[in-house]
């Protein structure tokens, strides 16, 4: 990096002193993109190229296998239970954590984050230890002839546990960023809790909530480790899509494995798209607010000098 700016010829106009040379910038961008291509783009590309390697017909036939259809159905059921539950809870938790200060708040926050720091395998194991043959509630499970572990309820429980913090976290972040001024204004105007929530809060958080739900859904449908431990891998019965991917892959049925994987990958890409859209929507709103604030400022500046001073 030369000390004399003039010697380098044309340089970027703004803030000449605090910028890297175009060469350095180019190299840094290239290195970042190369890393991204190697670790993220290549796997993404491989999923689709392997899924379609034998043509569209083979791809479609693979998806129409009865066992695969059963796995898709089970996945939809699991997500259909886990996601609404976590959404309801997530909104309640975010409301409590963002609108009030109370003793034990950080403990509650840690409790909500807990599933993030537990290995998926352990997340499955704990339900085996609760409801399994040697589990804490083994006697009750036997007495009432309940099927939890190695059955659908276990899969739902493990999935709900793993995806438990996702909606709460996303909604909490949005609620905290937006503050409670508008809710408090509604309260002074006589609104009830439900009126405040549905008329004031929900419109403000809708993009954050939407992304939280979509992310929670993608993770619920894609959960592998925890579900693998509690599922028992009963073909056509307790296999979710990721487990089906594993089975097909281990049977060297690569096309079918990647075909199922491609569906989950599309879901992941959709989730990323929603996130980007949500960010765009909220940044547009911020920009609009900033513009409004600015125009208010100009009004005050325009105040005639001659009369006031």
């Amino acid at each position: 990096m030369s000390g004399v700016v003039g010697g380098l010829g044309r340089r970027p106009e703004r803030g000449a002193a605090e910028l890297e040379t175009p060469l350095v910038r180019g190299l840094l961008i290239a290195a970042a993109l190369a890393f991204l291509a190697l670790f993220l783009v290549a796997p993404l590309f491989t999923v689709f190229s392997a899924a379609f390697s034998k043509g569209v017909d083979v791809y479609l036939t693979a998806l129409a296998e009865p066992e695969t259809l059963a796995a898709i159905e089970l996945t939809l059921i699991t997500a259909g239970i886990a996601v609404p539950m976590n959404t309801l809870f997530g909104i309640a938790a975010a409301w409590v954590l963002s609108k009030y200060d109370f003793r034990g708040k950080s403990a509650l926050l840690t409790l909500i984050d807990l599933p993030f720091s537990v290995s998926p395998v352990i997340s499955g194991l704990i339900f085996v230890l609760l409801f399994g043959a040697q589990g804490l509630f083994a006697a009750q499970v036997q007495e009432y002839d309940l099927k939890i572990v190695f059955a659908v309820p276990g899969i739902v429980l493990a999935t709900t546990f793993v995806t438990f913090p996702l909606v709460a976290r996303e909604v909490l972040a949005v609620m905290e960023a937006q503050g409670s001024d508008e809710e408090e204004a509604a309260l002074t105007l006589g609104a009830s809790l439900w009126q405040i929530f549905f008329k004031v809060t929900l419109p403000k958080i809708r993009w954050g909530l939407f992304y939280g739900v979509i992310l929670c859904n993608a993770r619920a449908m894609g959960e592998f480790g925890a579900v693998s431990v509690v599922s028992g891998h009963i073909r056509g019965e307790t296999n979710t899509m990721p487990l089906q991917v594993e089975i097909l892959y281990n049977e060297y049925n690569f096309v079918a494995a990647f075909a199922v994987a491609s569906l989950l990958t599309l879901l992941a890409l959709l989730t990323l798209g929603v996130k980007k859209t949500a960010e765009l929507a909220s940044s547009l709103r911020e920009a609009r607010r900033a513009r409004e604030a600015e125009s208010e400022l100009t009004v005050t500046v325009i105040e005639p000098r001659g009369v006031t001073s």
């Binding site: 030369s2 000390g3 004399v4 700016v5 003039g6 010697g7 340089r11 106009e13 703004r14 803030g15 000449a16 002193a17 605090e18 500046v301 005639p304 000098r305 001659g306 009369v307 006031t308 001073s309």
Partner: protein, 352 residues
């Protein structure tokens, strides 16, 4: 060590307006020069150009007689104080002040000695172990100043240095800077939009508007002899009245004052009447008088601010000592005679 810019220009967008438009001025060595102007007048950009933080599109910048137009900010040896202070948050006060000297690889003892000396000069001895977050706004500003002074800069550049402080601290720091400057005599360029700050602190004012120099000179010169109505209204302010020239007199509203030399009959003029340049009486005769109505009276400490309405519909603001108003017995709603002691008159197309 002087600072000169010659026809320096800078625009941020290729076809956008010029932020700095052919500015030429000189800052005198050992004095405080103020770059004064409303927001968007290009004063901060001009300061950044002098520091080398922006590159000019054209023109020449010299410090101490040397052309530095193409010299990196690293090598200009200027001290720059940012409005945001821009202290290094993860460093102690000591390390902040020492930073420039460490870059220059000065000896440990030399650095230690110099930092402590500077801290006592900015009246913050004993604060060297603290972090910036543990200081008040005024203290942070003084640390920023000490850091800028540590490398013996040729010039000190202050960008709205008191802008983020509340009024009381701002006035204290102004006093302190004035006392400091009297002993240090560093060539200083100070950017501000606050006319009081400019009038109180500087020996020389460069008044900018829309990226151009409106007028330069000593503060009292700009106040007493404003070159344009913009300068007159920005510095000191007053009531602006429109009118025309008739036989050597400028008739503005229902008042009349001496027209500027060379103004032709019928020329459009605008006059700036300072709040202190108006004499009121309840009864009157004599030359430049007119009748007005007192619309509103407000007491501001020892003074009274009166809003007069001329028969023409023009409004004039007047400041008078309370004692004087009491003597005259003027009350709201009264009709008064107005006599202009002085007014700055500008022929229309010459001004702004």
């Amino acid at each position: 060590m002087s600072v000169r810019t010659e026809i320096v220009s800078k625009r941020f967008a290729a076809r956008g307006p010029a932020a700095v438009d052919n500015v030429t001025f000189e800052a005198k060595p050992g004095a405080i020069t103020t770059l004064l102007g409303p927001s968007g007048s290009g004063k901060s950009t001009l300061l950044r150009l002098i520091a080398g933080l922006e590159r000019p599109d054209g023109g020449k910048i010299s410090i101490d007689g040397k052309d530095v137009t193409h010299v990196s900010p690293r090598e200009r040896n200027v001290g720059f104080v940012f409005q945001s202070y821009a202290l290094f948050r993860h460093m102690t006060v000591f390390e902040n002040v020492a930073f420039g000297m460490r870059i220059r690889k000065l000896g440990k003892e030399r650095i230690q000695e110099r930092v402590l000396e500077l801290l006592s000069r900015v009246q913050l001895a004993g604060y060297e172990g603290r972090y910036p977050s543990q200081l008040s706004g005024g203290q942070r500003q003084r640390i920023a100043l000490a850091r800028a002074l540590a490398t013996d800069p040729k010039v000190l550049l202050l960008d709205e240095p008191f802008g983020a402080l509340d009024t009381k601290v701002r006035i204290e720091l102004r006093e302190w800077l004035l006392a400091f400057q009297e002993s240090a005599r560093v060539t200083t360029l100070l950017v501000t939009h606050d006319q009081d700050e400019a009038l109180e602190l500087s020996e020389h004012v460069v008044l900018l508007a829309d990226g151009k120099v409106e007028q330069t000179g000593a503060p009292h010169e700009l106040y007493d002899a404003p070159a344009t109505s913009f300068v007159a209204s920005f510095l000191g302010g007053g009531s602006l009245l429109k009118g025309t020239v008739r036989s050597g007199r400028a008739e503005v509203g229902s008042l009349a004052v001496q027209a500027p030399e060379g103004a032709e009959d019928g020329a459009e003029v605008r006059a700036l009447v300072r709040p202190h340049d108006v004499r009121l009486e309840k009864a009157a005769d004599g030359g430049e008088v007119a009748v007005a109505r007192v619309e509103r009276m407000r007491r501001i400490g020892p003074r009274i601010k009166l809003l007069l309405m001329l028969p023409t519909g023009d409004a004039v603001t007047v400041h008078m000592p309370k004692t004087e108003v009491d003597e005259l017995g003027i009350e709201s709603g009264d009709r008064v005679l107005v006599d202009l002691k002085d007014a700055k008159v500008f022929v229309e197309d010459y001004a702004i």
